[in-house]
């Protein structure tokens, strides 16, 4: 029972982490689209695109760090076939 609980907890945490990453992208996009709608295209700075890519990069790095910490806390070592 204890093993099953730990397994379920691990899977739930992995799923939540995935959802949080996707939500972060959605939130970033929402802000960009609101900016587009209210500020106007002509006033968007030229560095909007590099900024968006940087945010995506930060989301990926944060996701990977959190995932590595999660695996570590459950005692997993990643093995691929």
């Amino acid at each position: 029972m204890q093993k099953a609980d730990a397994r379920e907890r691990y899977l739930r945490k992995c799923r939540n982490l995935m959802l949080v990453s996707l939500l972060a992208v959605t939130a970033t996009w929402a802000i960009a689209l609101v900016a587009l709608q209210f500020i106007g295209v002509s006033r968007l700075p030229g560095y909007s695109l590099p900024l968006l890519v940087t945010i995506h990069l930060l989301i990926v790095v944060t996701h990977n760090l959190r995932r590595a910490r999660l695996d570590q806390s459950f005692g997993f070592e990643e093995v691929a076939r």
């Binding site: 093993k3 695109l49 590099p50 968006l52 990069l57 790095v61 459950f74 005692g75």
Partner: protein, 544 residues
Amino acid sequence: MRSVPGNSSRPRRLTWSYGLLAAALVGLLVILEILGTDGATIDRIFLTVVGLHLLYAAFVSRTMTLHAFLYGDQAASSRLVGCILAASFLCGALVFNLGGEPIGYTALAFCAAGGTAAYVVLNACIVPHFRKSGSSSTASFLGDHFDSNSVRICASLVLLAVNAAFIIAGLALAATVLESKLQVTPLTAAIASALLVALSAIFGGMRSVGWTAGPLFVAICMGLAAYLLLPFLQTLGLADPLPATAELRPTLLSDELDSPLSVSGWGSATMMLTCMAGVASLPFVHAAFATARSLKAARMASAWALLFILGIVAVVPVLPAEFTSSTGANGSVLLPLDAMTQIVEEMLGNPPADFPQVWSGVVTAGLLAAAIALTSLAITNSANSMSNDIVFAWKGAKADTASRLVVARLAILLMAGGGAVLVLHGQQFVLPGISLALGFSASSILLPLILGIWWKRMDWIAALAGMLGGLTAASLWLYHVSTVDTPWLALDFNRIALPGMAGSLICMLAANLVHKRSASGEDETKHEALHFPNGNAPYANLAK
């Protein structure tokens, strides 16, 4: 054979040797120019030498083992996989930008933002599980996961069609560059680009792709740096501003070409979603991750790809207008490649004043490298899938390695030849082909793939229904778009992925309801094997 001793540092050595060779060659050719060598000879020498280096890298990666041909030995570092992905991304962006529909900066920026967001989706939802499954292609992953040859064949056919569009686009870019720079006939240019791509993939398959990725990425960076040198010098006040009629001028990107739809919130959101779903479902992108040496490397590859792409797009705001604004002339989606030829000719024309002639060779090599990087990856992925997921699908592990490799190599030759013919005779379909490929790929592959990984109750019937439903919905929407002036919900030709994905989801849920069942023990085991890092013994560590 899981690993090849002594081969792990080969890609790094090839990358460094290319960088040193290109730098030495630039110095030598500058001296030759001072001594009176003419410009055409200098261009030919540079392109020949760097082309030979590429072919050498492809040749030394030759193999007769299936593991090397399918997975590139699974020895690629995260940086190398990032190089492959970034180079492919750049080539796609170049083809899209140089000859596509007239679009402005806003639309372009949202497309690129959607494309880079795809790496977040890949990293969070797909790649670790795909890499962990040990599959070499999206089709084999889906076939194995759902234990269904029907799913595998269906996914393979979609994969081949999607990859074909990108192969043709990459060959078209390479042929255009060769035709413009070397002043050869279109037939010669098409044959030369097909040969270059075929030879860069045929010897080692995915191992060739991995070993040539570093040199190709260096060539792209050198080409981009050379192209942007003058605008940067002018921005810093170190070079005289050019007259208004000059070809190269530093300028902020213009939004004059943006249509009302592309600058609206709805238009931008749907474009971003389409690009994200399209890139996240591309089979050759998944195949690149299969070459990573570990799960951790596969995860970090997304971060490296984004970092490399960031390095490239960070200079976008100071790019010359000719480079960034689209060249499409009439607003139709069925554009000939004349526009691309024209802009490539302008880019590769005479170097700016006070610049050595070799500048033009370096820029040409960068464009060619981008085209070859994308095309060789897509052609290898298609050939592997054709061999293992279609021809030998029913034989499974029983088919012998030599036969598989022969079929894969024949497929590479066939697709390169077919691509060259289509570049010559079907140019008007090259650019819309990319939009269609993204749309159909997202419609049929993405949701069955993600739900297959994350939803235990998905079975092969639901997956097959999702794929066929997505394809049908996207095709019907394409028919709708072609028959009306203003498509419903403003989902035009470039956005057919969204109705396609909706159709796919509805069909999957309907099939699941009709074929109602709860997850079996086997489903649970498969699910855990994909999600738990230590494979088939997920309880081992927890028990400690």
